[in-house]
């Protein structure tokens, strides 16, 4: 692998900055308000959205609530064990959450019924089903696609009371962040979308979230370390590659 990398190619024949084949299926789960399954190569992630009534956070009484959870379920990989989300699952959920939250991807103010008392809570649950490396980018894509796929009963707020109307409406989505994960060996080039083998053997990895406006909306350095120049290079690569993922989101959102 290192030999191939020194010649700017990878074991599976991809270019350094190429994603594996990305496939999207939407609306598979009837009981979910919205759902999407994303495959990047063999990695498969299913995200489901449920929208329920609940209470707002005390420090944001006029906003709906977004909560993101992720599970690395045991059927996805011999490496995943049953039990509550471990540090990798928690980190995954928080990476996806931050990008959605900080861009205000969902206009949460529109999901407030009675300030301080009643709001809609949007649950995004990420289920990694098949792990061949890079569940982060797949989860990030699956989450925004599931949110775009979501339909809730049409409603209006009349004097602080919730009134349902006929039909269904989408969630108020304003931004579409995606995440680009890069890996590199200590002495060698950056690659995008590491597969499992690359993830396990290249010691340095970083995930960078970018929205449709080209803004950085999240960075998480994962294992390893990077020089200062390498950090700037990674951000630049991510910024250039993100539009390809956002193109997929736009296309599938229709």
């Amino acid at each position: 692998m290192m030999d191939l990398l020194s010649k700017n190619s990878r074991i599976d024949g991809r270019g350094l900055l190429d994603y594996r084949e990305i496939k999207v299926e939407k609306g598979l789960i009837g009981r979910a308000a919205g759902s999407a399954q994303v495959s990047i190569g063999s990695t498969k992630v299913l995200a489901g959205v449920k929208v329920e009534l609940g209470e707002p956070f005390p420090d944001a009484p006029d906003k709906g609530v977004l909560t993101v959870n992720a599970e690395l379920v045991p059927l996805a990989s011999p490496a995943f064990e049953p039990g509550p989300p471990d540090e990798n699952a928690v980190e995954l959920a928080r990476i996806v959450d931050r990008a959605l939250r900080e861009t205000e991807a969902i206009d949460l103010k529109m999901l407030c019924i009675e300030p301080g008392k009643k709001v809609f809570v949007v649950f995004v649950d990420i289920y990694v089903l098949d792990y061949d490396g890079n569940f982060i980018d797949a989860s990030s894509l699956a989450s925004i696609l599931a949110l775009l796929n979501t339909k809730i009963r049409s409603f209006r707020v009349e004097e602080g009371k919730l009134k349902y109307e006929d039909g269904y409406m989408p969630l108020p989505i304003r931004h579409t962040p995606v995440t680009v994960t890069l890996a590199k060996p200590d002495n060698g080039p950056f690659i995008v979308d590491p597969n499992l083998e690359e993830e396990l053997s290249l010691g340095n990895r970083i995930s960078i979230s970018i929205d449709e406006l080209g803004r950085i909306c999240g960075i998480q350095k994962l294992e390893g370390s990077l020089s200062i120049d390498e950090v700037f290079k990674a951000v630049s690569i991510a910024k250039n590659i993100a539009p390809k993922l956002i193109e997929i989101v736009k296309r599938e959102a229709v």
Binding site: R94, E102, D211, G214, G218, I219, K221, I228
Partner: protein, 236 residues
Amino acid sequence: MSAEFVRVDGRLPDQLRPIRMVVGVLDRADGSAYVEQGNTKVLVAVYGPRELHPRHQASPDSAMVRCRYHMAPFSTKERKTPAPSRREIELSKVIKDAISQAIFLENFPRTSIDIFIEVLEADGGTRCASINACSLALANAGIPLRDLVSSVAVGKYKGHIILDLNDEEDEVAEADMPIAIMPSLNRITLLQVNGVLTEEEFKQAFNLAIKGCMEINRIQRETLRSVYSSIKGEED
């Protein structure tokens, strides 16, 4: 723009909070350190290298690093329940990754190096103060290090790029970016961004953070130097 901006606590944009660092504060631990940055107070203990049980979890080639970042219930504005939160789980992971890079793990096969972080008071930058204290505690434990790890957070607050945010600033900030570096090796071992930044703002903030880390590194070295010179003084 930032030149005349005065912050909520009177600091300039590129000013660190007052810092206090002490090593060897605990008697039972192999190494320990206490760090204050502004009102943020963290205490770190290191146990190890020690035999790792269960044995099957030990690595034949290197030490395993275990790290627990935990906040005392009284450390935050509103009481924090003692049970590990998802944030603490994530921070335990990122701090472990940040500090492990500095340790010659291969020198201690089949052992564990256990790092325990307790945040006694939280006023912003707790993971950074924790990393700074971990470096000192590891050195205090006599564990050979490639370099000290020095850490600080920068952020964007009402349009201004600022260094070493306190909690009040962090809550309002458009972006918060903790960074850690091994300065003499030029290796970034912690980098997170929570918020929204343009690429330009990111570069500006990053460069300011590195400056902050260098100053912190100076204080860490001074702290260690004064411990060893006072030990030497006792021996003379």
